[in-house]
């Protein structure tokens, strides 16, 4: 028997100019389905928001509160504006992974293009916030920290971050689907071996008994659990990277503090440092 592991199926291609064609793939269909599903859920969840909540609203509020608490603990209170994006990303990622369980649609996150696109959004947010907070030169200068020799390393890690994020998420989900496919094939083979002695007429109509049950357990792990964990990890990494790029506005960035310490005389330097420590303490307590 033969088992093919492929990427997303290309349903058809839309030619736009000359040789340039837009392929319409399984992934795109899944993305569309997830988007429509989430828009519907959003509509249902937000249809009737009241001060005295119903059961559904309590659930939604609980989830939203958890999201905001998570964002606050990871990025700080000043970065709560990112919470809606993190929530959206989590929903897209989780539902994108789980939609693979339907067997009709392919997991969106099993396509490197999708996870890559999301990772590039994270990098874009990091760079945008870094430049916004430190200025363009400050951002470039950040690559030479803590010593100039580290610059190539920093550049590599800056590129490696989104690549690693994209591949981690893609690898987990795609690997899970490959494993599920392999298990299915193996179970079919086992079915053939065990029931192969039966007459052709009975064997043809008999359901593949071994394929019932066992893949479901694996699917719970690879699609539900792994999908949840990967969505969470992706969001967590996004929060950490973006949170690093936009520190609390009250605290002085480390670079300018070091500069002022160099310029100031010794006595003042100590005061400035202790002040800085106090400020850092207060922010970490928050």
């Amino acid at each position: 028997m033969q088992l093919e592991i492929n990427g997303a199926k290309i349903y058809f291609e839309i030619p736009i100019y000359g040789d340039i064609k837009i392929p319409v793939t399984q992934t795109m269909v899944s993305l569309l389905v997830v988007t429509i599903l989430l828009l519907t859920l959003t509509f249902i969840a937000s249809r009737n928001i009241k001060k005295r909540p119903g059961k559904l609203q309590v659930l939604v509020e609980k989830v939203v509160t958890m999201l905001y608490n998570l964002v606050e603990s990871c990025m700080g209170k000043h970065n709560l504006k990112f919470a809606p994006y993190i929530g959206t990303l989590f929903c897209c990622s989780f539902f994108g992974s789980v939609i693979g369980m339907t067997a009709i649609f392919r997991s969106t996150t099993a396509d490197l293009s999708v996870t890559g696109a999301w990772a590039l959004i994270t990098t874009g947010l990091v760079w945008y916030n870094n430049i916004k907070n430190n200025g363009f030169l400050g951002w470039l200068k950040g690559f030479t920290e803590p010593v100039v020799v580290m610059t190539p390393m920093n550049i590599v890690s800056e590129i490696a971050n989104p690549v690693a994020m994209a591949f981690r998420h893609f690898g987990n989900v795609a690997g899970g689907s490959v494993l599920t496919a392999l298990i299915y094939a193996a179970l079919a083979a086992l079915n053939n071996v065990v029931f192969g002695f039966l007459p052709e007429a009975i064997f043809a109509v008999m359901p593949p008994i071994f394929q019932v049950g066992i893949p479901a357990i694996l699917s719970i792990y690879f699609d539900l659990f792994s999908g949840f964990v990967q969505a969470f990890v992706f969001c967590l990494l996004t929060m950490i990277y973006v949170g690093e790029a936009s520190p609390p506005p009250a605290t002085v960035p480390a670079t300018s503090e070091a500069q002022s310490a160099e310029v100031a005389p010794e006595g003042v330097e100590e005061v400035a440092l202790t002040e800085g420590e106090i400020v850092v303490d207060s922010t970490t307590k928050e």
Binding site: I5, N6, G7, A8, K9, I10, Y11, F12, E13, I14, P15, I22, P23, T25, T27, M28, L31, L32, V34, T35, L38, L39, T42, F43, A45, S46, I49, K50, K51, P53, Q57, V60, E61, V64, T65, L67, Y68, A83, P84, Y85, G87, T88, L89, C91, C92, T108, D111, L112, S113, V114, G116, A117, W118, L120, I121, F170, A174
Partner: protein
């Protein structure tokens, strides 16, 4: 344009169009969820939290004001009790004084009345004595006149005397 090609993408590969599609999808979802889900829900949670906080703050404030009021009232009550006690004591003292005064006055007046009565009695007695003296004098004159004017028997004398005495009594 062929429909339903039997073509697959590479297992590991990046397709720009899929990326663009993913971006567009997540952007739409982000905008929709921020506007219709996270925004309103978060606002609702915050406003409810604020309401609860306000409620608690109000309760705390009214509790404090009630406590202050209670303390004030208790102070007032204590003061009023003290004042009442003071008033009572003053009244008692005054009443005692008044009582003594009244008693003294009564005694005085009784004594005065007694004295006046005594004086009157004395006066009366003196007058009575004078009268008696006058009458006795007159009597003596009458008796003498009677004796001198008429010579009567013993019985006549006694009857005369009796009548005289009766007359005297009637005169009196």
């Amino acid at each position: 344009m062929e429909l339903f090609l039997d073509k697959f993408e590479g297992f590991v590969g990046v397709n720009f169009w899929t990326m663009l599609f993913a971006w567009v999808n997540i952007l739409i979802l982000y905008l929709a969820m921020r506007k219709y889900l996270f925004g309103p829900i978060k606002n609702m949670i915050d406003s409810r939290q604020k309401e609860i906080d306000d409620l608690y703050a109000d309760a705390e404030a009214s509790r404090e004001s009630a406590q202050a009021m209670e303390a004030e009232y208790q102070e007032k009550l204590a003061k009023a009790e003290e004042e009442g006690e003071e008033i009572r004591r003053t009244a008692q003292r005054r009443a005692t004084l008044r009582e003594e005064e009244i008693l003294r006055e009564a005694e005085e007046s009784a004594r005065r009345t007694l004295r006046r009565a005594e004086e009157q009695v004395e006066l009366e007695r003196a007058r009575a004595l004078n009268e008696v003296k006058d009458e006795v004098g007159a009597l003596a004159v009458e008796i003498a006149t009677a004796i001198i004017g008429r010579d009567v028997a013993g019985e006549e004398h006694s009857a005369l005397i009796d009548a005289f005495i009766d007359n005297v009594g009637e005169d009196k």
